[in-house]
């Protein structure tokens, strides 16, 4: 019984941490909206978008979805399959570059 009691305390956290994360999410969303507002272009725009996106996603997963406090077995089962998505993105980037290349190529030399 004492075991259960001990565990219950670990599953609830102070309200402050949630309010902090909530506030940070608002600020980060505001920043990513500002990227569009000020019409940043090119590499700066893309890197800022990705930075704010990953920060927001990380905060939501770590604290709102409790992954920060979760057992490693679950965290690893969830995060390792994501590398497959990375591979897929890599393959499809190669693919669309090849498609663009062939389209431009046949546009120039003709069918």
């Amino acid at each position: 019984m004492s075991e259960i009691k001990k565990q219950e305390q670990t599953t609830t956290h102070k309200i402050g941490i949630y309010l902090w994360i909530w506030g940070l999410l608002f600020v980060l969303s505001f920043f990513s909206y500002m990227v569009d507002w000020y019409q940043f272009q090119g590499l700066l725009r893309w890197s800022l978008i990705l930075l704010f996106m990953f920060l927001k996603a990380g905060l939501i997963m770590a604290f709102f979805m409790h992954l920060f406090w979760e057992r490693y077995a679950l965290v690893n089962v969830l995060l390792w399959p994501m590398t497959a998505i990375g591979c897929f993105i890599f393959l499809m980037v190669a693919e669309f570059e090849y498609t663009v290349f062939t389209r431009l190529f046949y546009f120039v030399v003709g069918g």
Partner: protein
């Protein structure tokens, strides 16, 4: 949340706990509510579905030679005589984050067995989700009036419409299903089903506040997907 049913099992944190959890020829995720483990597995598979959508969008947008419509203008609103870029989308983002925050607090109050706060926060989350879906319906009808179709649009590359309706439509469906469940769970919370351990409609397992956390996982995931859609579809 150590499972008292497994005799002598004590959960250890870190990699030691992970080795114990996976390598002991027994149940994995010992002591985790089966619904929670299954929700995570479902969310993982859903991640792959949304990734496939976004990757096909990347491939489609990257391989077309026609200019992609400028999302900042397409989704801009004309308010009080000024053109504000992406206004509706920004509001939708803030509404969804607000509802994610109320959900996180609902999970916390649920575990503290604070029935009233938990119920009201779930209800607030549901209303946030409903607002989001409402604004999405407005956005869809606005674009359809402007002539955006899955096969053509007046702004640029014709693929734009099909990716837009597919990705936001699938996300909107997730939000709508979430809203329905949020209302059901708000009702069940106010009724005290989780305090009494009342059994659900489709299950013989006793109700518990862990169900609020499972619902919360789903809702945060919907918010998480929106973070990626917002970045890649609307801002990029």
């Amino acid at each position: 949340m150590s499972d008292p049913k497994i005799e002598g099992y004590e959960f250890k944190p870190g990699f030691k706990g992970m080795a114990q959890d996976t390598g002991s020829d027994q149940t994995m995720f010992k002591g985790v509510h089966w619904g929670k483990a299954m929700m995570w597995i479902f969310l993982l598979s859903d991640t792959f579905i949304f990734s496939c959508f976004l990757i096909s969008y990347m491939k489609g947008r990257g391989s077309t030679l026609i200019d992609w419509p400028n999302p900042s203008e397409v989704f801009g609103l004309h308010v009080f005589g000024v053109d504000v870029p992406l206004l509706l989308i920004a509001i939708m983002t803030f509404v969804l984050i607000t509802s994610s925050g109320t959900m996180a607090l609902a999970v916390k109050y649920g575990y503290e067995k604070n029935k009233k706060m938990c119920g009201w926060l779930i209800l607030a989350t549901a209303i946030g989700g409903l607002t989001f879906v409402g604004m999405q319906a407005f956005e869809w009808s606005k674009l359809i009036h402007e002539g955006v179709r899955p096969w053509e649009n007046p702004f640029g590359a014709p693929q734009f419409g099909s990716f837009f309706f597919m990705i936001t439509g699938f996300h909107g469906t997730h939000v709508s299903i979430g809203v329905i469940f949020l209302f059901i769970y708000a009702y069940k919370t106010f009724k005290g089903h989780y305090d009494e351990g009342k059994r659900g409609w489709f299950t013989s397992i006793k109700g518990d506040y862990v169900e609020i956390e499972i619902l919360g996982l789903y809702w945060h995931f919907v918010d998480l997907v929106w973070v990626f859609i917002f970045a890649f579809f609307y801002l990029w």
